[in-house]
Each structure stands twice: as structure tokens, then as C-alpha cells.
Amino acid sequence: MTESRDWPLYEVFIRARGGLDHKHVGSLHAVDARMAIEHARDLYTRRQEGISIWVVRSEEIVASDPADADAFFEPARDKVYRHPTFYDIPDEVKTL
């Protein structure tokens, strides 16, 4: 009864409506990409939640390291001048 091998893991991304990005919704096991897309349809769009599906082997995802997040994202922290609200514009000046 022991399972010899589990099917590979895929991450699933779904575009809910035209004009929106594909968004990660979860994962599933499938033998290949074609089965992954068919299973993703059955698993994640039973109620018309999508019009397009991407799948990618989970092992192909490369991620930043959460343990380094502080240092890694630090460079943006002191650059508030990148936001429009940093600048005080007199009320008299319109459409700016």
C-alpha cells in the first residue's frame, strides 16, 4: 500500500477576470503540466473563479529569503521622497 512516489507539486496562478493579474491561489499534485492545468480547473475554478490558469513546478520558484528581509528591503526605507505626498505644494497650485 506504500506510495512509491508522489506526483510532482505545481503552484497555480489564476486570472479572475480580463484585465487582472494572475494571482497565486495554491498548489496541487499532477504528473505533468497538462494534468496540472486540468486539475487546477477542477480544483480552483468550480465556481467560475477564473478565465486563465498558469501552473509552474513548485521547485522552479526562486524566492527571497525571509530571514534576510530586513536587510534586503532596507534600501527603500529612507527614500520617502519617492512618494508624491513628500512634497508640499501650495493650495493655489492646481492639477499637480
Binding site: E3, R46, D65, A67
Partner: protein, 301 residues
């Protein structure tokens, strides 16, 4: 950083209502507790397909049959979401399923009760899915991200399950005297097991305190049980059915958990048979994929 400092920082993140993600540092105890709870939850969804699957071929109308198939398919989907979320903690689905089939993993005791009449399908949707929703809504805010996100998806779907159950009960309650009696019989059978779904009384619940500290659990067993009763009693009144009088038989609860419920052996046997009979399909699909590796990509281009 040493373990004590890491644990302190972890608890601070939990206290600040941050979500923990798969690659974040977490205490071993947190990981183990989540694997245990999430795997039990996944197993419950899968075993939960059996009592209702029993009635698919005998549903009274084509409409009811289509609805029941959709519901049972949802349960399978919920199992898949939850196995997937559990795998983010570093276990494999294959290993979890092996534990279920070997009888060493638990699943909700509710699914070890039989479904002798069509009204039982109504009572399961109304009461069992109703109790599940009560347990699951707070889990949408659970501290572990993948579990919380799976629960959001599941809760959206559960509401249909509960309403279709109540709809079955409503039809029976408005039907003939025999149908009304059938509905009452199902309520009598499922009331106590549904109340047991919230787990042992708070004083005896060994995992509760730690689980609340980690914000995996947000309300105690008794709090959720009370709320469920409060919501359900008027719904029974509307149906013209009476809630059984008495108290929960905790001895029965422990016996069912120990494997001595009315259907424990049958349920596991059905799962083992299905897994064994599907073995050649899993093997063949994998062999086919290996033989035609990248074939799909070429085919669609």
C-alpha cells in the same frame, strides 16, 4: 540568534497579528501542532465524502443528485487545499495519506456515523457543515498564512453546503407526516455528534491553551459550541422539529475517537480500497508523463 530569542520574536509577531509564512522561522512545536491539526482537517474532508457519497445514487431527484455530487466534489477539493497547505510545513501528502490509511492519524469523529435515510443528508449539511463553519470561520484569521488562506476558500464554499442541507430539511418538514418523522429522526441522530465536533469541554482540551497563544485557535471549544446551539435552535423551531433533550455523552465521543464508532472500520476500509484500486492509475499516469515529457508544451505551440 539563540532559540529563546527566536521564540520571543516569533511570539511577538503572533501577538502583533502578523501571519507566519512557510519559510519563516517557527518553533518545532508550532510546526508539529499545525501539521497534526491541518492533516486531521484534510483527512476529515476526504473521509467526509463517504457518508454522503452513500446517497448519490439514491438522491430523490436529479436536481438533488447534481447538488449532492457538487457538494461531495467540494469536500474532495477542501481535502486537496488542506493537504497542499500542510505540505508547506515540510511533510509530503503521500506520508500523510499513509498515516490515515494505517489508522494512526485521526479525523473528525462525526464521519463515523451512518446515514440510514435521505434526511441524514439534510441533517449533515445543516448541522455538520454548520458546526464546521462555526469552527472554520475563526481559522480564516489563523496565524499560519497558508492555512488561513485555504480556510477562506473553504468557508466560501461551505455556506452552500449548509444551505442545501437546510433546504432538504425544509422540504421534508413541509412534506408528509412520514417525511417529517424522517427529518426528526435525522435531527435526533446528528444533534449530539454535531455538538461533539467542537471537541472536549475546555477543561479537558489539552491543546487549547497553547493553540490560543499561537492564534491558531481564537475561541474555546465551549464558546463555539454555545454559539452553534444559539444559532441552530431557532432554525430547528422554524422547521417545526424538536431539539433532543439531555446532555453530551462524552464516553461515546471517546469511544468513537478510539475507533469504536458505528462506522470507523468501514470508513477506513473504504479509503484503503479506493487508494489500492487507484494505485495502477497513479502509476500509469506518471509513467505516461515521463514518456511524453514536455510533449504538452510542444503540442500547444
Amino acid at each position: 540568534m539563540d532559540t529563546a530569542a527566536l521564540e520571543e520574536r516569533f511570539q511577538a509577531r503572533i501577538d502583533a497579528d502578523e501571519r507566519i509564512e512557510p519559510k519563516d522561522w517557527m518553533p518545532d512545536g508550532y510546526r508539529r501542532a499545525l501539521i497534526r491539526q491541518m492533516a486531521q482537517h484534510a483527512h476529515s474532508e476526504i473521509v467526509g465524502m463517504l457518508p454522503e457519497g452513500n446517497w448519490i445514487t439514491r438522491a430523490p431527484t436529479l436536481k438533488r443528485k447534481a447538488i449532492l455530487m457538487a457538494k461531495v466534489q467540494d469536500e474532495g477539493g477542501h481535502g486537496a487545499y488542506l493537504y497542499g497547505a500542510t505540505e508547506t510545513l515540510g511533510v509530503t501528502r503521500a506520508a500523510l495519506i499513509e498515516e490515515l490509511l494505517a489508522g494512526s492519524a485521526k479525523y473528525s469523529s462525526i464521519f463515523n456515523y451512518p446515514t440510514p435515510t435521505w434526511a441524514d443528508i439534510g441533517a449533515i449539511g445543516w448541522l455538520v457543515d454548520g458546526a464546521a463553519i462555526m469552527n472554520q470561520i475563526p481559522l480564516c484569521r489563523c496565524s499560519y498564512g497558508p492555512y488561513a488562506r485555504a480556510m477562506v476558500r473553504i468557508c466560501k464554499e461551505e455556506s452552500f453546503h449548509q444551505r442545501q442541507g437546510y433546504d432538504i430539511m425544509l422540504a421534508l418538514a413541509r412534506g408528509t407526516e412520514a417525511q417529517r418523522r424522517m427529518a426528526q429522526g435525522a435531527l435526533d441522530r446528528w444533534w449530539w455528534p454535531a455538538l461533539m465536533m467542537f471537541g472536549p469541554p475546555d477543561a479537558e482540551s489539552k491543546h487549547s491553551a497553547q493553540s490560543m497563544r499561537w492564534k491558531v485557535k481564537r475561541f474555546t471549544n465551549d464558546e463555539l459550541r454555545e454559539r452553534f446551539i444559539e444559532f441552530t435552535v431557532p432554525q430547528a423551531e422554524y422547521l417545526g422539529l424538536s431539539i433532543p433533550q439531555g446532555t453530551i455523552d462524552w464516553n461515546e465521543f471517546h469511544e468513537v475517537l478510539r475507533g469504536n464508532g458505528p462506522c470507523n472500520r468501514e470508513r477506513l476500509e473504504a479509503r484503503r480500497r479506493a487508494h489500492q484500486n487507484g494505485g495502477w492509475v497513479r502509476e500509469a499516469a506518471l509513467a505516461y508523463a515521463e514518456k511524453h515529457r514536455s510533449g504538452y508544451r510542444e503540442a500547444v505551440q
